[in-house]
Amino acid sequence: MKRVKRRYLALQIEVEQMPSEREFIDAVWSSVVQLYGEFGASQTSLALISYNVESNSAVIRTALAALDMVRASIALITALAGSKASVHILAVSGTIKSLRPLTLQRKK
């Protein structure tokens, strides 16, 4: 069976009050589902890898084939837990390790 290639995305969250992990990943999922439907969302293999409230950052994992879908869906997020928000992609990498410095250094 062919190995599934994955990509890790470091995200910067701009919001007044940081939402919980669950609220954040739900917002990403619902954006993907709204834009590409349930079939499209099923191809993304989305998963939250890390979430840092202090540095307003997160790392998510997705399938390489669905990277553009996830990027577009993340760009379309305008609210998190009911408050105005934007989520910016800091970097995309094939390994979690290379994203770690980015998500740790970033402060609001």
């Binding site: 701009e14 934007s86 992609i89």
Partner: protein, 252 residues
């Protein structure tokens, strides 16, 4: 592939349609600083024709600290062909970017064939008033007008309205590509939290049917080409494309 990647890394990005409140200095400088932070090096802030003198005097000062460059832009919303011609005659030499909001067919056709128009913008919500068809694109391809669309409606709409918006945009983009009309993607946002990074804008532009390279061009090369061309034209020594006065006087 490798060449495309290297080209993408060296790009400089532009947003020709930032819409902060031009009367509010703080709002202006915040929007400019935010856009510069997100990676834009060239920004266009539209002002009404009456406000051009007082408004643009502030803009170079805004850009000083951020390393940002500002292009003066005016959005014309004429009701008739004759009004458009009158406004262009009056304002073309005052602004680096002239955008026409085409709200009827007569204006759309005139704007597409007029060489003084840089950007053609169409109502994104009401597709019964969408005049960017093949005839319009053919006229625009012969002049230097580019097709502009904003990301803001995409961000703010949901459900069926976003579906209609995307299908309309895809139709317009297909026509523009067929006739080689340059495409410019701008934010059109008036609030900071709606601003997106250039690459995020490009990804959203891909939803409208552009390829990755075309989408990146729409937020970098196309706007830069327009501003560069017009700055050259607005130089005092400009005569015609490729001809400019270098020295004047009896000793020439």
């Amino acid at each position: 592939m490798q060449g495309d990647r290297i080209a993408a890394m060296t790009r400089t990005f532009a947003d020709l349609h930032l819409c902060p409140n031009p009367k509010d200095n703080e709002d202006l400088s915040k929007a400019a600083a935010k856009a510069a932070k997100l990676g834009y090096t060239l920004m266009g802030i539209p002002l009404s024709p009456e406000k051009c003198q007082e408004g643009y005097s502030k803009l170079p000062k805004l850009g000083d600290g951020d390393g940002a460059d500002f292009a003066s832009r005016v959005d014309l919303k004429p009701k008739s062909q004759s009004e458009l011609i009158r406004l262009l005659r009056k304002l073309r030499r005052e602004f680096e970017v002239v955008c026409v909001l085409c709200e009827n067919k007569e204006v759309a056709r005139q704007a597409a064939k007029d060489h003084r128009v840089d950007l053609l913008s169409f109502p994104s919500i009401d597709f019964r008033r969408n005049y960017f068809d093949r005839a319009e694109a053919e006229l625009a391809s012969k002049s230097s007008a580019a097709f502009e669309f904003d990301i803001r409606p995409l961000l703010l709409s949901k459900g069926p309205s976003r579906v209609k918006l995307l299908s309309g945009l895809r139709r317009e983009v297909t026509v523009a590509l067929e006739f080689h009309v340059p495409i410019v993607v701008s934010s059109g946002v008036n609030e900071e939290w709606l601003l997106r990074k250039p690459r995020e804008m490009a990804v959203l532009a891909e939803l409208a049917g552009l390829s990755e390279t075309q989408a990146l061009d729409a937020v970098s090369n196309s706007p830069h080409v327009i501003v560069k061309r017009n700055r050259e034209k607005l130089c005092p020594g400009y005569v015609a494309p490729g001809i400019r006065i270098i020295k004047e006087g009896s000793d020439c």
